[in-house]
Symmetry: C2
Subunit: 275 residues, 2 copies
């Protein structure tokens, strides 16, 4: 039997990290908690986010998690130290793996300049500026508060008039970033909701003639988690199990979650974290 791995996010976005974990650590028992009753974290203060994140992490520990993945940029940015201090197991956040992947992508890193798109709280924390700066690269961060609601509304279909709105919002955010950071080389999506926008982001960068290499932070995070587990600890993909917990509507979690995971969600359980 493989290890028990807890994955935590404020909502659905962390399912993109779980999706990347499945082939890398087959045979694991995955416990995913979406703290949907209290989302979005992105517009809240550090104290509030830390309190929510620690209670969520402890829940997964009680359920048997042997390693915790904080698959939420906002919680990683504002509460990773608090979560690590509160838990006696290994904890992996999404920011450092993303920053390291951006540095690897640039090669020697000497000329790298990373543009980070993220929620307001993540940007205000400065966590990406510190993490990427530690790899010797320049950083420009841009808060994009409308992207999470657009993804949750499902305005992503490239053919529809609704997708034109999402494309225009992306153009406004990226054109403003291009003004601030015309020499950027690399784009890091600093929110786990954003990977669903990847094709539209690439099209927008083309139209703006703003050639940035995109980093897959979900993949980088999954690889960082995989490094904690020797080959012998891994099982067969058929032995993989997934159990989902949500703090709000199970029906909504199932419906939106399948978009992020790329497959249906079977076992979804409503829990109360007292918030």
């Amino acid at each position: 039997m493989g290890p028990t791995i807890g994955v935590f996010d404020s909502g659905f976005g962390g399912l993109t990290v779980l999706r990347a974990l499945l082939p890398l650590i087959p045979g694991a028992r995955y416990l995913y908690l979406g703290d949907t009753a209290r989302l979005p974290y992105g517009s809240k203060s550090r104290e509030t986010i830390a309190r929510y994140a620690v209670s969520s992490a402890k829940f997964l520990l009680e359920q048997g998690a042997e390693h915790l993945v904080v698959a939420c940029n906002t919680a990683t940015a504002l509460a990773l130290d608090e979560i690590k201090a509160a838990l006696p197991i290994g904890v992996t956040g999404v920011i450092e793996p993303g920053a390291a992947a951006a540095a690897r992508g640039v090669g020697d890193g000497s000329e790298g300049h990373v543009l980070v798109l993220a929620t307001a709280a993540t940007v205000q924390s400065g966590a990406y500026t510190r993490a990427i700066g530690a790899h010797g690269m320049a950083v420009t961060e841009r808060a994009c508060p409308l992207l999470v609601p657009l993804v949750e509304e499902g305005w992503l279909d490239a053919s529809a008039e609704t997708a034109a709105v999402t494309a225009e919002v992306l153009r406004i955010y990226l054109a403003s970033a291009q003004k601030d950071a015309p020499g950027a080389t690399t784009l890091l999506l600093g929110c786990t909701h954003y990977p669903l926008l990847t094709p539209m982001i690439e099209a927008t960068l083309d139209r703006l003639n703003y050639p940035l290499a995109m980093v897959d932070a979900a993949q980088a995070t999954a690889e960082a988690v995989g490094a904690h587990f020797p080959r012998s600890a891994k099982g067969r993909i058929e032995g993989t199990s997934m159990h989902f917990f949500a703090t709000d509507s199970v029906e909504k979690f199932r419906r939106l979650g399948s978009r992020f995971l790329g497959q249906g969600l079977e076992r979804v359980e409503l829990i109360d974290l007292g918030g």
Copy 2:
């Protein structure tokens, strides 16, 4: 000295109701609570919303409120009965006054058909359909999940490219409503964030050739509250005091709140409702 009136919302939108109350009940001591740490309510389940709303209402009672205004459509739609049962004081929600105002606007009401724009949770509750139906009018409800984030992002300035995005989102929502309810006569904004969009909504209705009369639910709610207080209980406008409580960032509350109240917010205090 005037009465102490508690006004509660999940965030800032209820300040549009407070703004309408100020000239109607001068000399009152206003206590406003924005449960910003747990917003938005609009995407949460009934159980979660009721739990949050009752704890917020009790806080205002403890602070001395003699009457409570639930200045949040979602909380009114999903938790008004629970709040009334939990509090020994008068409670006024925003839905019934809005529905009554829509009926008055139509005259005898026999030909009225009201289009309600609101959050997903409010629409799912069916509360407007019941309240407006009780006045003998037809109702069509439309969920508009992007409007609150657009207002909070401040994409409202008629001259900017960002406002063009908001205008296009409004066009998509209203054109879809027009298909469902071509014969509607009246538009009710079923979310206290939406009054900031009024000029853009009016322009969109013109462009769509969709002539709806708009109801001011904030004003209607303020008048319903005013009816609870005899003239003798009212004081002088110079004696009015306002005290604001927020469950998250005081700075953000002050900054966004002034847009809704139409004036600066002086006394804003951070409180913890344990959520």
